[in-house]
Amino acid sequence: MSEDIASLEGIAAHLGGRTVLDDVRLAVRRGELLAVVGPNGAGKSTLLKVLAGVTPPLRGSVTLAGEGHRDRAAWARTVAYLPQAFAPYWRLTVRELVALGRRRGGPLYGFASPSPAGFDPIAALGLEPFAERVVQDLSGGERARAALAWALAGGTPLLAADEPIAALDPAQQIRSLELLRNLRDRVASVVVLHDLNLALRYADRIAVIAEGRCIACAPPDELVVGDILDRVFGLCFARVSWNSGTLLAPLPSSGTTGL
């Protein structure tokens, strides 16, 4: 069994004729929580879509669980993809949505049987009070948790989640990331995050994407030492040591304010 659950080699992708990914190399290890950070438009979402098999890459290859070409169903059973701002079109209840999430990679026609799930995502995400409510009627935070529950329900060894906590309050953000961290032995996660401090605190490794390339992929304590983040975001971060970690605080650009 390979150590990598997924690896991307020389990935290039276009979106509407524009190059959004160019020669990306990235491996996701089993049992890790990998945060993907980078400025807007860097290609993070496209990277996740390529990883999830939604967008076929123009060049390069995706290897899942050590195997080369995989069929659609096998891919579906390996990577669960949670799109940005995910919401079902029809008025499904939370329980129905999660039940649907269990049926990954089933036959196209006919009723797919649920994959065995070792844990109850509704309970894990504290959704019991809303289980019979319609997803569209929930608040933004509740909806985001329902979406995460749906993505986790399939029991895949890998989750690719695009900004899954953007709509959550700080407490819920922490709770969700802690859940993913606790589950990482069962399901490795690749999570696009905008909050660098949460990435530093919860991720095992952080991949930095800028201008369609993966320019770094390293554990948080390595990444925080250098100036990669400052360069990528075009900002100067103040490093504040706090408890056992480091907090980043963006400062106004130096030299322009005349201080």
Binding site: E96, Y109, G110
Partner: protein
């Protein structure tokens, strides 16, 4: 819960069947119906061999329209998608017109559904192709493309009717098709119709899971294992076939494919594995009832049931439009 809903729908179906049998230009009370069915006079024969197959045909048409509407809505992820509005029903009517008016070396029972299918499928592809070529992605644009294509198809059909018009039965049949009226089949014809409908509906129910996945968005559906192109094409083909079959026996009956899926979702929830069978049953019940009303409203004449569904359906469409645009 699901079981109870299906049971309720089955009860509704039975009640609609009874009502359909009671309604007509000679209405009956349920008690009279039971007594009359047992008799051996002309009226009993009318009930058994004319009104009963007619009611059953109306039910099948309703089931087909309800399920095809659910499929169109599922594929387009929009409650406003409807076979009548997306051009497939007008296309089927054009195909049927060609089959009726042109001398073809085929028996009508084969030529009619085959041509209706070609028309329905061709029109759907035309609408989709136009919408794509014009860069339209929203349902509003799709419906407008449907309006344009429908107008074109209707004009073509009118031209065919004018140029091929003759004092023969053909034109009368085409006219009744245009307004939407259930044709009464002989028992043997009904058996063939029912067999085709059963196969079509079974295949349609098989698409339930894929439609559920599509309802999560295209990216999520692809990630969960859906072959988007093949599935979409397959569903549109099948839905066109169901529309063609319904049009063959009922003409262009609008809005059933809009109202019925909406009611089915309201009642049974959004899962297609439930909403599709419910749509079939609600559609069947609705059509049996409306066809009965069409036969009973202006005795001794019969009004085209397509007029009734349009009268009921157009306001319904506006209600759904209002709800949907407030989303």
């Amino acid at each position: 819960m699901t079981f109870v809903r299906i049971l309720c729908a089955a009860g509704l179906l039975g009640a609609a069947l009874g009502a359909g049998l009671c309604l007509g230009s000679e209405p009956l009370s349920p008690g009279d119906l039971v007594a009359a069915l047992g008799g051996d006079d002309v009226f009993a024969r009318l009930l058994r061999d004319w009104r009963l197959p007619r009611v059953l045909a109306a039910g099948l048409i309703g089931a087909l329209l309800g399920v095809s509407g659910t499929m169109f809505q599922g594929v387009f992820r929009n409650p406003l998608a409807e076979p009548f509005l997306l051009g497939s029903a007008p296309g089927a009517a054009l195909g049927a017109t060609v089959a009726i008016l042109l001398p073809l070396p085929l028996p009508p029972l084969v030529a009619l559904p085959a041509f209706a299918f070609c028309g329905a499928f061709g029109a759907t592809l035309l609408v989709l192709g136009l919408a794509r070529a014009l860069g339209v992605r929203e349902i509003a644009g799709l419906l407008l493309a449907g309006v344009a294509v429908s107008a074109f198809l209707a004009a073509t059909r009118s031209f065919l009717m004018l140029s091929l018009s003759d004092e023969t039965i053909g034109l009368q049949v085409v006219l009744s098709w245009t307004m939407g009226g259930v044709q009464t089949p002989f028992w043997s014809e009904l058996a063939g119709f029912a067999a085709l409908a059963a196969v079509g509906l079974a295949l349609a129910f098989g698409c339930a899971h894929g439609l559920d996945l599509l309802g999560l968005g295209e990216d999520a559906a692809v990630n969960m294992g859906l072959d988007l192109r093949r599935f979409t094409l397959g569903v549109l083909t099948l839905a066109s076939a169901l529309v063609a079959l319904a049009v063959t026996w009922g003409g262009t009956i609008g809005f059933i494919g809009l109202i019925v899926p909406y009611l089915a979702r309201l009642w049974g929830g959004a899962r297609h594995s439930i909403s599709m069978p419910l749509a079939a049953m609600i559609g069947a019940a609705t059509m049996m009832l409306l066809d009965g009303v069409a036969r009973a409203a202006l005795p001794p004449a019969e009004i085209p049931v397509g007029l009734l569904t349009a009268l009921l359906g157009a306001p319904f469409f506006l209600v759904i439009l209002a709800k949907w645009s407030r989303r």
